[in-house]
Symmetry: C2
Subunit: 767 residues, 2 copies
């Protein structure tokens, strides 16, 4: 809401706008080869034979990788290790990698791929959840791949392969089942969430340089340390032999969380003895990772006065052909079903359904957008069914500030009602004029952030000159982490921003970090950086106190000098006198991690909640079904803004990603499992002209963020309530309830054509 | 003496022998240009004009650097900032850099250089110390360059520009002048030390990549942190804008201690907007840095029984055209004059004489070889004059183990007599048969090591897997630092060597270190690494104790598990449970620095002394003057050997460098100041066939090294006594005393021809 926080310009701005910034795709090593892969044209087929001999003979080809070259190489995945580096027994989606070639240039590699002969035995495809779950569906994995389920807190059950073509099921229950008896109404509705592509501008890319048993990679990854761990396991080596360097990353939105281009680049480098660059095209990005499409069925029991009582949900995630992070997304989806509201009873399950489509994995919001789409749509539907204003129904049922999210969990750290008012007021919700085909909708969401149980460490060095070097594993992925973290350092040390350098990330030297995800860059790493800067500052003061024969507490930093009463003594000469002409550096470390209590089923103490609100005013053209968003208002509570401009940037980018999913984007597959719109032209990313006519983002600083820093994460909140806010506005405008995304003109027009009355066709009232 | 310590093979062996190891010269960046420089053909000339316009017009040339492009750029140097990046008012030696060009390739750069027109006004050259000090010599620096003299302890006087063409004079005096009255004999002798080239196999080379105001370099340097500091000053920027990366370095021997190729590479990159590689040829190396030639006059007063009483020395170092580290070398030279012996009175002075020759700077032994050549030659001469066996005279006068080196200084940490016995016995000194033209000689030396007042810090990270990452600024320059430091880690943590990775050195992330010099890699950094590993281990044990509800002291590390009584609990699952699936890393820091006391004139407490002994048996061919070394025995006391094989390697390499200076190597200049043998063929590096017929090195572990590690530095000791041991053997063989190096056949033959009697022509007895 305020922009009280300072908003200096981004530290990565000048290098990025001048082209000086280096991304992985810019890395060139002497003798570097280029990799390309052969992909399956079939959605599901047994691999009878792979003959790469003709490819190996192509001049300029230095290495060919097929299933025959996987000795000692394991499959990858988060809980379930089911994705081989190249296909072994089967291919499981159109685009599955069958072979890879490293050659002098990409054209030669492509020419060699054309000379690889593959014999397939085609099997029935499983293009969607329904087909995959049908009793006579073919089985994607005949044998169970290795997998483990980590232990959880009370109320949680997690199961591997609970049924055919389901790799994982998450279940959670709390509160007495008898709560249903208190309900005056029980509503069941089903919602469909379409699948999006992450559409990060920088492609998946790795440069690998294997020298003897040492593996060095530069990679566009969000998670250098977990990646190192997984690569060591996949390659059958030890972590200390692998160095992961991460330059600037050009967007990821969750997709760059695990092995992508890394194993193939490494294996080709090992085979060829040369550095190998493996850079996917945008089209190949569509064949590599996607968001989860979902079918969400929600049953909600309420009292006649609108008080929420009990909720049961059944979530089916379309996990695609390999499990990747699906089990983790399933946990989050299932556990986020209660939303911002108070319940006596919750029962939720979420299944990961395997289909012969692009694997689905982490995506901004991490399972929350799918369930918020269902939940926040149904809240409006219930309000209308009960004749209560949806705004009022939300206000009535919000958890209070400080109320535990669920038993054993940390407490909600925003005043949800106050947040909703910010959006409703800006939108003019309460004073709106009723006009034909125009309507307004609201939605609110809440998601745990910061990474459950995930540690971050940081180091700050201060040189004799007062120059500062920040070293931490948070990747600058476009979110402005360098800017915010630099500011944290500046706030502690009082040094000019110009004096703060950012150490390059490599896993050998960089302090451990769990990864750049879960909106943890400022809320978790920010605290670690704060502690590191304070530790370094305290060491400087202790040193100076020793030199000046006083107590450290008597001293304050003032520029690169210490003040003792009225006396200001410059530090540089003091350091030179004590440490010689070469000087010294004072090094401080900081550490931050959410505390997990045994009572917490899945989240933890002292993380933050990423709370966002959205409001939309739409006009629906009844002749075409086109939805025009006249106003879009989004707001997130960041606790305390470190850099207000960057918070706005994150919130607005996130909101527009949700806006795109609400109205435009959708990966569409043919019944044969062929992706129909897997490239930039056909895949309908919104253009500038598609943006809302009025777009307002309001950063709230409610002040309940963790630690002394008080900053909560930003950047995943606004995507969550977006689609429901627009669908709610559409219903407000034209009385039809759309339960499937995106709200394309075709779909809205079809709904307008078939529905006479609003919101009756979908729900079954059971009580 | 023993090889009790474990001697695992070098960790850098496999990458180096397979070619996988990367040196700066291997770095290639996209769009990288190549630099070449125009050098002065005159030893001394005023620069009238430099016209580079035709060079700028050469196709493929992207930047030209002349004195017109030095806005905001300062000169460099240690105490005295007198060396401009390119010549401004004058050139001061043949090879002085006048202009630089960056072009698409080196050939184009060379072609462009040929099109630069320079007008010189030639001035008289100062090819040697004598000419430079003559009253009518021209003055190399008409104006005093900026310089400061740091404060010293008692007895020291340091003066900038004490007289014409002397940039610095160091003086030290201790003990009563009246000591001279106790002397029965006073001998004065003068010795000349010739100038060597460092002859490091890897040339001087820098790759610079300037992007906006950010400067990143890869450089073959021994001192990344001091280099960063000096570059910031030279370039007028702040340290945090400069990142210095240092890959493997292929030898330096002191020459890579300060700005060499760096400023030109950086300025050309800044001018061109492209990365620039500036790699010198071997021939250019000869024109860049050298050892100090010296004229050393020693006056020694002794009692009739051979007891040493008083010594005065006057040392003139040929500093070449720019001061570089000459003042520091002068301090060390002067202060090392007492050698291993006990004195009542010491007075020493050392002047840095500027000549129009290649600048001289740090060189293995750092001024000690020059003065040991004089001192240890004179000890033998005095012994013969007094009719005492040189062995006995040394034994009689050695300082005792534990005796302070000089008042206020730390104590000698070897039994010097015991050390000499090791060599004498191995050589068969006491039992030798007198044969014509055969003789034996001994010498002993002692030098402070570890870097006065210089801090080293290190960090050790231990990942969840038990993999270890060592991060420290000690450069692997061929000395085996990685091997020894890895072993220190392994000794503390008990992990397999294979599990220890070595983080790449860059100044943003690497813990501060003063530099890879002064034999400090193991003795100082080794302790820092030990402390860091112990700190990390203690953190692991504290964590485990918290998990197991016991005290850290009850636990011991056992593999990657902890033992509590009979129970052994693996750590990896414990860490995963506490920190989540992404794991964690425990990070420890270590710090080590010599303590300087106000009483110490120049050295310090708790450093170590690098003590070495050499013995030679020679046969001199009276017809040719050729000296054949039949036996060479060297020994150094390393306190405790971390890796015995590496200690031997250091000692033997060092001894052979001394052997080369004794018999072969010498940079020779014409009266016009032209280097006559500045390339690999003419510069007489010993070949395998030149090596001694019997060559034995014996590592002593006398056990008095610093800290719990107990390791002293190695690698600079054996060069120091080498030349004197051989000259002493020559005198023993044929009765002539050669006082000038190298002991070439011509010089020995000439001495044999003119000298009837040994050792009378050189000394003047004053008492």
């Amino acid at each position: 809401m305020t922009e009280s926080a300072s908003t200096p310009a981004r530290v990565d701005g000048p290098p990025k706008v001048t082209g000086a910034a280096q991304y992985t795709a810019d890395i060139r090593l002497p003798g570097m080869l280029h990799a390309k892969v052969l992909r399956s044209p079939h959605a599901h087929a047994r691999l009878i034979s792979v003959d790469a001999s003709r490819a190996r003979a192509v001049p300029g080809v230095h290495a060919v990788l097929t299933r025959d070259d996987l000795d000692g190489v394991s499959a990858y995945g988060y809980f379930v290790k089911d994705q081989p580096v190249v296909a072994i027994d089967k291919v499981r989606y159109v685009g599955d990698v069958v072979a890879a070639v490293a050659a002098e240039d990409e054209a030669t590699a492509l020419a060699a791929l054309a000379r690889i002969t593959v014999e397939y035995e085609v099997l029935p495809s499983l293009p969607d959840i329904g087909t995959a779950l049908s009793p006579d569906a073919s089985e994607l994995f005949e044998q169970a791949p290795p997998g483990v389920v980590p232990p959880f807190g009370p109320g949680v059950t997690a199961t591997l392969r609970p049924r055919r073509n389901v790799c994982y099921e998450f279940q959670y229950e709390t509160g007495p089942d008898s709560a249903w008896d208190e309900c005056d109404h029980i509503f069941t509705d089903t919602f469909r969430y379409s699948r999006s592509n992450h559409f990060h501008l920088e492609p998946f890319v790795t440069v690998a340089d294997v020298r003897g048993d040492r593996i060095e990679i530069w990679s566009s990854t969000q998670n250098p340390f977990p990646l190192r761990k997984e690569l060591a396991r996949v390659l059958g080596t030890t972590e200390s032999k692998i160095r992961v360097n991460v330059p600037y990353v050009g967007g990821g939105f969750g997709s760059k969380n695990n092995c992508r281009t890394e194993p193939i680049a490494i294996l080709l480098s090992r085979l060829s003895g040369r550095p190998v660059r493996f850079c996917l095209t945008t089209e190949e990005g569509f064949l590599t990772m996607s968001q989860h499409a979902a079918v969400v069925t929600v049953t909600t029991g309420v009292r006649a006065d609108g008080t929420f009582v009990a909720r049961e949900s059944k979530i089916l995630l379309d996990s695609g052909a390999y499990s990747d992070a699906s089990p983790l997304v399933a946990q989050k989806s299932g556990y986020r079903m209660p939303g911002a509201y108070r319940w006596k009873h919750i029962r939720t399950s979420c299944e990961c359904v395997m289909t012969t489509t692009t694997p689905a994995g982490p995506f901004r919001g991490y399972g929350a957008p799918q369930v918020a789409w269902a939940s926040e749509s149904q809240v409006d539907m219930i309000a209308r069914r009960l004749g209560i204003d949806p705004y009022e129904l939300r206000i009535k049922n919000f958890k209070a500030l400080g109320e535990p999210y669920l038993p054993g969990e940390s407490s909600v750290d925003s005043d949800m009602a106050r947040g909703l008012d910010v959006v409703a007021d800006e939108l003019g919700y309460h004073t709106r004029e009723r006009l034909p085909n125009r309507g307004m909708g609201l939605a609110a969401s809440l998601k745990d952030g910061g990474g459950m149980n995930k540690p971050a460490t940081a180091r700050v060095k201060i040189a004799s000159s007062g120059d500062v070097y920040l070293s931490c594993g948070t990747i600058e992925i476009g979110q402005g982490a360098h800017t915010a973290l630099t500011q944290v350092v500046v706030d502690v040390l009082g040094c000019p921003r110009d004096k703060v350098g950012y150490a390059p990330v490599n896993t050998d030297a960089t302090p451990f970090d769990h990864g750049t995800n879960a909106s943890s860059g400022v809320a978790v790493m920010g605290q670690a950086v704060q502690f590191a800067a304070e530790d370094a500052r305290d060491k400087v003061l202790a040193f100076a106190a020793g030199q000046l024969d006083c107590k450290p507490d008597d001293l304050t930093l003032e520029g690169w000098a210490v003040r003792l009463g009225d006396e200001v003594t410059p530090l540089a000469p003091m350091i030179t006198a004590a440490f010689g002409n070469t000087g010294f550096e004072f090094s401080g470390e900081g550490y931050c991690k959410a505390v997990v209590t045994p009572d917490a089923p899945l989240v933890a103490e002292s993380v933050f909640w990423e709370n966002s609100w959205a409001g939309a005013e739409v006009e629906v053209d009844p002749d075409t079904g086109k939805v025009t968003v006249l106003q879009l208002v989004v707001s997130s509570d960041v606790g305390k803004a470190i850099n207000a401009l960057t918070c706005r940037g994150q919130d607005e980018g996130c909101a527009i990603m949700g806006y795109a999913q609400a109205l435009f984007e959708e990966m569409r597959f043919s019944p044969e499992g062929v992706l129909l719109n897997g490239e930039a032209l056909d895949y309908r990313v919104p253009l500038a002209e598609d943006l809302p006519e009025r777009f307002v983002s309001l950063t709230q600083e409610q002040g309940h963020g963790p630690g002394r820093l008080g900053a909560k994460g930003a950047g995943e909140g606004a995507i969550i309530p977006l689609a429901a806010a627009i669908a709610n506005a559409v219903q407000d405008a034209v009385g039809v309830r759309i339960t499937e995304l995106p709200l394309s003109p075709q779909r809205v027009f079809a709904a307008l054509s078939t529905a006479e009355k609003p919101s009756t066709e979908n729900h079954q009232e059971q009580a």
